[in-house]
């Protein structure tokens, strides 16, 4: 029987020991004596979150299909265990073999959100791997980062040996082969990294150098070695039917956040909402065929035993075969007593029908994300959604029996005026009014309508048209949320509208890290040394430590957030080519200033630059 890395008395003294024991259904075990490359794949957050991530499941499956490779999983030990591991000097271990992470050849870390940066240092530290890449030797694994935050990896440059830019399915095989070759020929770690830097899609930060202007902006960013490219083009899978997709994903014992089969129906989004990074960096839209998805759905349900299935994509209503797919699933799953979780579909006759078949209408609520309250602002952000679209959708839903509506908005968008904030309140009010007009008194199921309006604070992200936009200050954010609350309280139907807003401290920090540069690495290191981990969890977030760390490192956070950026500024992430050209983004930024909308990819190509990948919607149109 297997030995666990944690002794019994430790496992019985912590919360949810199941997070650390491995042995789940479909976990992959291999004979390590027949393995050339050991890969630890880490999601730097708690097990239940990490286990819910489809990207990791895809790569885990891919690596383990390589016969010479054993990929195992690693998650962040929760603070209760973190303390014990430090005191008892227990090194961080992988789920499967329960061996120290430091024994592995690679440690891959997915970087999904800025607030997990301190958890990355926790992972390295507990593993006994030097935090700084420059201090590592062949006794340490190669630490490689991937995921959406690598679209600007610079704040983390000091902690990673390599960043993988783009979708993971394409270049790992080549990297592993290079690794095997270099190890067998006794090549130095540094020389291996220089060779890796020549593989498309791989960015090796130690192979580049940055010069700054006097005003703090970037003057030049350049490779240090011959043959290392000046820009790194993102990787992507051209044909999503001809690639890795796990048929036997690991099924956790404890309930993960995503406790269901997840079917990724497509990648990318045809819409170009100007605040949205995902809408740009995953271009062009590529769909999986409906046959592929039906086949996977069958196998996944059979191999996992999940009682629920959910569709995943950025905008499922835009999938060409959505009706066919949902009709199939509704029929198949009803037979098998499997629930279908329908993602936020655009509300139309079809989706209302489908949802009424699979959900308990009385209990479920309907979600709209207009993001902005006024039409003026929706045009600025290029959200192709009118007041009529929203109201008609709501009316359809009310007729179908729904009485609960959730609305998501952003505050602090560029060029925002009080009128735009008032628009949020008015839209919520109009939806409530539509309910009373649509549903006669005697047919009101729960008595009345319930509307929850939530606002988050807008944080400008790299590779979006708003990458030039100044972020609001924390005070502006709070001021706007207060106004929004007041505007709502002035509405006729204010009694049925509930208003929520999020903290502004975290938004400030997210903004700094999102558009940050190499000078932030010491800040992250310093705040980690002060004890910050699990920053994404409000109960563990210590804002003061971040402020102290900025001060000690002589870094002004407002340089990254509220500063105005000129059109021709060189950004820290400009060396990455995400497919969409900077020229296109700038053009979109200028159109935003004039409130001019841009067509989506289905209606008309706007020449964003992604056509050179020669796949997906760019060739299908």
């Amino acid at each position: 029987m297997q030995n666990l890395a944690l002794p019994e008395e430790v496992l019985l003294s912590i919360d949810k020991p199941e997070r650390y024991i491995g042995n789940e259904i479909n976990a992959v075990y291999k004979d390590k004596n027949n393995i050339a490359v050991r890969f630890a794949m880490c999601f730097p957050d708690v097990y239940e979150i990490g286990m819910s991530h489809l990207g990791i499941a895809i790569l885990y499956d891919m690596f383990n299909k390589f016969e010479d490779t054993w990929c195992e999983r690693v998650y962040s030990p929760w603070p209760d265990l973190d303390k014990i591991m430090r005191v008892r000097k227990i090194p961080l271990f992988t789920m499967e073999s329960q061996e120290p992470v430091r024994n592995m050849d690679f440690l891959g870390i997915t970087i999904q959100y800025e607030m997990c940066y301190t958890n990355i240092l926790q992972i390295l530290d507990l593993s006994g791997i030097p935090l700084l890449a420059s201090e590592r030797t062949w006794d340490d694994p190669i630490v490689i980062g991937g995921g959406p935050c690598t679209s600007n990896p610079e704040p983390l440059y000091a902690f990673f040996d390599i960043f993988y830019i783009g979708e993971g399915e394409t270049r790992y095989r080549r990297l592993l082969d290079l690794y095997k070759e270099c190890r067998s020929k006794n090549v130095s770690r540094q020389d291996f990294l220089i060779e890796a830097a020549k593989i498309p899609g791989l960015y090796v930060p130690s192979c580049y150098e940055t010069d700054y202007n006097e005003d703090g902006t970037i003057k030049e960013f350049r490779p240090l070695h011959e043959g290392v490219p000046g820009t790194v083009l993102k990787e992507l899978v051209k044909d999503l039917d001809d690639t890795y997709y796990p048929e036997k994903p690991v099924v956790p014992f404890i309930r993960a956040t995503q406790d269901r089969v997840v079917l990724e129906i497509m990648r990318g989004c045809i819409r170009g909402c100007r605040f949205c990074q995902a809408g740009q960096i995953y271009r062009p839209v590529r769909e999986r065929s409906v046959e592929f998805l039906m086949d996977k759905a069958e196998k996944l349900m059979k191999n996992t035993g999940y009682e629920e299935i959910s569709l995943s994509s950025l905008s499922s209503s835009d999938y060409s075969h959505i009706e066919e797919l949902i009709d199939y699933l509704v029929k198949d799953c009803t037979d098998k007593k499997i629930n279908i979780a329908l993602p936020s579909l655009r509300i139309d006759k079809f989706s209302v029908d489908a949802m009424s078949k699979v959900q308990d209408i009385k209990k479920s609520s309907l979600t709209f994300a207009p993001e902005a309250g006024s039409q003026r602002m929706r045009d600025i952000i290029n959200k192709g959604l009118t007041r009529d679209d929203i109201l008609n959708g709501a009316i359809l839903a009310f007729k179908g029996g729904w009485t609960r509506v959730k609305l998501y908005f952003m505050l602090g968008l560029p060029f925002e005026q009080d009128e735009d904030i008032r628009g949020i309140a008015e839209l919520a009010n109009d939806i409530a009014a539509a309910f009373y007009e649509t549903v006669p008194k005697d047919q009101r199921v729960n008595g009345r309508v319930q509307i929850v309006a939530s606002t988050s604070f807008f944080v400008p992200k790299p590779f979006t048209p708003f990458q030039w936009a100044p972020q609001n200050t924390a005070e502006q954010f709070i001021d706007k949320a207060t106004k929004c609350k007041r505007f709502i309280s002035e509405q006729l139907n204010q009694k049925v509208i509930k208003y929520n807003w999020h903290e502004s401290d975290v938004s400030m920090l997210e903004g700094v890290l999102a558009r940050g540069d190499r000078r932030l690495a010491p800040v992250i290191l310093s705040v980690y040394k002060k004890g910050n981990i699990f920053d994404a969890w409000s109960e563990y977030y210590h804002h003061d430590n971040w402020l102290k760390a900025f001060e000690e490192c002589g870094v002004d956070p407002t340089f990254y957030t509220t500063r105005e950026r000129s059109d021709d500024e060189i950004f820290p992430w400009d060396f990455i080519d995400c497919g969409v050209t900077k020229r296109h983004l700038l053009n979109e930024w200028h159109k935003a200033q004039q409130g001019i909308v841009t067509d989506n990819c289905k209606d008309k190509c706007s020449g964003c630059g992604s056509a050179r990948f020669d796949c997906g919607i760019c060739v299908r149109r």
Partner: protein, 226 residues
Amino acid sequence: MKVRIKFTKYGVVKYIGHLDLMRYFQKAFRRTDIQMIYSKGFSPHMLMSFASPLGVGIEGYGEYFDVEVADSEDYTLIKDKLNVTMAEGIEILDVVLLPEGAGNAMASVEASDYELEFHKENPLSEELLDKFLKADSVIFVKELKSGPLPVNVKDLVYDIRLIKENVLFARVNSSSADNLRPAALLTALLSLEGKNLEDYPYHTLRREIYRKNGSGELVPMGDVND
């Protein structure tokens, strides 16, 4: 039709909590082609009844639950169908058909066999056991919401002996009214020599669970006839 399933839970899976174990078995059935009977409503679930939840960290070698499967199923195939999709340490030992009108697993539990192994210092001895057997009463004080309640542990023990010098075997009452937890038994036992259970780490293993048959005898839960 209802079947009663006997299974083990040992090794690393001893850290799985009871609710998660129930979810585990629901998924396990869905990985087989066994036709199950579901509850009605928007989130249908299987109809299961576990004999007695096993605490986290305790190993079980004779655990039971009842579940309802379609009448068309051949119940003798269920064991093999499940065993190909089990996690290490969870093994189906036996599947029996429950007769019409049999009480469900949870309500039928009367007694359990435990093996309690002291893996560091050993407070057990034949003398200690002698003291226990000769005493008129051995008291454990239960802390209830209504206040402390002294219980005579001896009334709740069917059998007790050493099976190794550091392993105590005990068959104790596990009925819902008079359930005796192993920790309570050990606390009371060690108190006979003024010892504190907290100083002696031990492992708990549940070997078997019993119900009472028509003639009032204790029989394993898997013995369902009459």
